[in-house]
Symmetry: C2
Subunit: 335 residues, 2 copies
């Protein structure tokens, strides 16, 4: 029976990668005990630490014991991290040669790694314990997604930092196509609008432009620095895929409620939407949008943990009225 689950042959191995996301209370900034701190959560991704570089949970597909990819994924994520994901959806299958380039393969042929990426969502798990340094096991932790992609945070009037914009323009040089592409993706021009869903394209542009750490690593040139936290292998690309998918999906399916508690105030819901999208949203228009969907219902109870006037608590109602599918939430940007 050999190594169960190690599906290898002809230089191919099938593995599963998991982008497991949750919202966690943002740790209070040192020396700045903001009153609303609890209401501004942070989007985090589950990572393992297999020696230095953080990585996504990654495991072999076990064709003998698991009937489906999804079961396989749930099994190894729990084994590696002690965490049991809820909502799960396939992202993409990555099979390109060279995606893991500089690693020498053990055999005479190059080892070909095919990985099926999955997105999984979970409610706040700050109380539950992740596996830490169990023998022979990777250490699991929650890593803020915007630490990995700092340029994806547009809250607080956050523009693309000047040095990154300069780097992009330096790469583009006089190539008009490059300039246009960079300007469109990063909304560099005055009045241009930022599309939060295009996280993957932005990452890939930065990779191509040699502005992230992975470029140097994969080309075997230098260990150049770059913005954001680099991940192992092509995991940052997979994470960007997951972030883009989540940001898009929030707008047409009620997935945000996979990330929130049973009951929530509308401000908390808005905070969740802002953490996911990386945008500051317009309060009243967001509320009107939420009401229009009919996806939430007032519970009558109040939350007085907010510092100001107590807020009404709502809950998600699965009333998927209207012939169509259950919709998502409008994300009306502020400013």
């Amino acid at each position: 029976m050999a190594v169960a689950g190690e599906a290898t042959a002809g230089g191919v191995r099938i593995g599963l990668s998991a982008v497991v996301m949750t919202l966690r209370p943002r740790p209070a900034a040192a020396g700045h005990r903001g009153p609303r701190a609890a209401a501004v959560p942070e989007l985090c991704v589950l990572t393992t630490d297999g020696g230095g570089t953080p990585a996504l949970p990654f495991g072999p597909f076990d064709p003998v014991n698991d009937r489906t990819f999804e079961l396989s994924l749930r099994r190894f994520v729990e084994a590696q991290t002690g965490f049991r994901p809820g909502f799960v959806e396939q992202l993409y299958t990555f099979g390109d040669a060279g995606r893991d380039a500089p690693r020498a393969s053990p055999g005479p042929e190059r080892l070909r790694e095919v990985s099926v990426g999955y997105l999984a969502l979970a409610r706040d798990v700050s109380t539950s314990r992740l596996l830490s340094s169990a023998p022979g096991r990777a250490e699991a932790r929650w890593t803020p997604v915007l630490d990995v992609f700092p340029w994806e945070d547009r809250r607080g009037g956050g523009m693309t930092p000047p040095d990154l914009a300069e780097g992009l323009m330096g790469w583009a040089g006089s190539d008009a196509a490059r300039r246009d592409r960079a300007a469109a993706l990063f909304a560099l021009e005055e009045g241009a609008r930022w599309n939060e869903e295009r996280a993957l394209e932005r990452y890939e542009l930065l990779y191509e432009a040699g502005l992230v750490q992975e470029t140097g690593r994969d080309r075997g040139t230098s260990e150049a620095a770059g913005p954001g936290l680099a991940l192992a292998s092509d995991h940052r690309r997979i994470l960007a895929t997951g972030l883009g998918r989540l940001r898009g999906k929030v707008k047409y399916r009620p997935v945000l409620f996979e990330l929130t508690a049973e009951t929530f105030t509308l401000s908390e819901l808005q905070g969740a939407a802002e953490a996911v999208s990386g945008l500051t949203l317009h309060k009243q228009n967001f509320r009107r949008g939420v009401e229009r969907t009919g996806l939430v219902a007032a519970t009558g109870r109040l939350s007085s943990a907010t510092g100001g006037r107590p807020a009404e608590l709502f809950r998600f109602t699965t009333a998927d009225l209207r012939g169509g599918q259950a919709p998502g939430l409008a994300l009306p940007a502020q400013r």
Copy 2:
């Protein structure tokens, strides 16, 4: 070197399936030489005929010779069918056990087949030759997609046929959840709105309800009949995935122009959108929507092949102005 490209081991085999779609002139109905026949195209999918049941082009992934899935796909589609696809996009990776159930596997272990599905689009190829019965090769042909999914055609006031609605309600019985699901997906209730993107969910519901041929085949029970043309293995499910993806994508990316000729009249463009969506669209609102996107430009030339007043010819312009991404087309339903 053995069978190059046959990636097998541990009971797993990786293959690629292709949903190659194009628009072709609908063959004139016998005895009804309609004048506008040329303007109403038909969405077709490339199929092979490996002994009786039509199948999608399916081939092994060749990890030795092909750097990427996409190259592998392009290679074997061309080899099998003589046809070279243009636009290509990954759909989904299917890995569930039992998806090919009744076939006895040769070895002691069950052969596990993982297939990566792809969507490919092509301009009208009615002039180019598909490979026909070359020795040792599958015969390729274009199969109308709506012959495979007759219930997906809502043009001409097409409602779900009464016998299918009855079959669904018979399956649902007094189970309210089943009734709601069927009613929502097939817009059975008065005034309910049909969502053309949900082709996969509709097919899966029919499969679950035992109303398509594949149900009986996979359960090994009877070779029951059912609406539409059954395909080999789970290829009808993959095709439904592709159809749903295409119908959705048309609305937010300019993919329709991957299917149309260099120049076209707005009526032809509308016919293409109707063939893809299975809807009858509102003429003027469709035009306004097209204009608003800025995706087409008038050429100044006229087409007098229409039977009435000559129509202006337009062409796709890749002017992806406006900071965001190039948009798709609005599909304003008629009636």
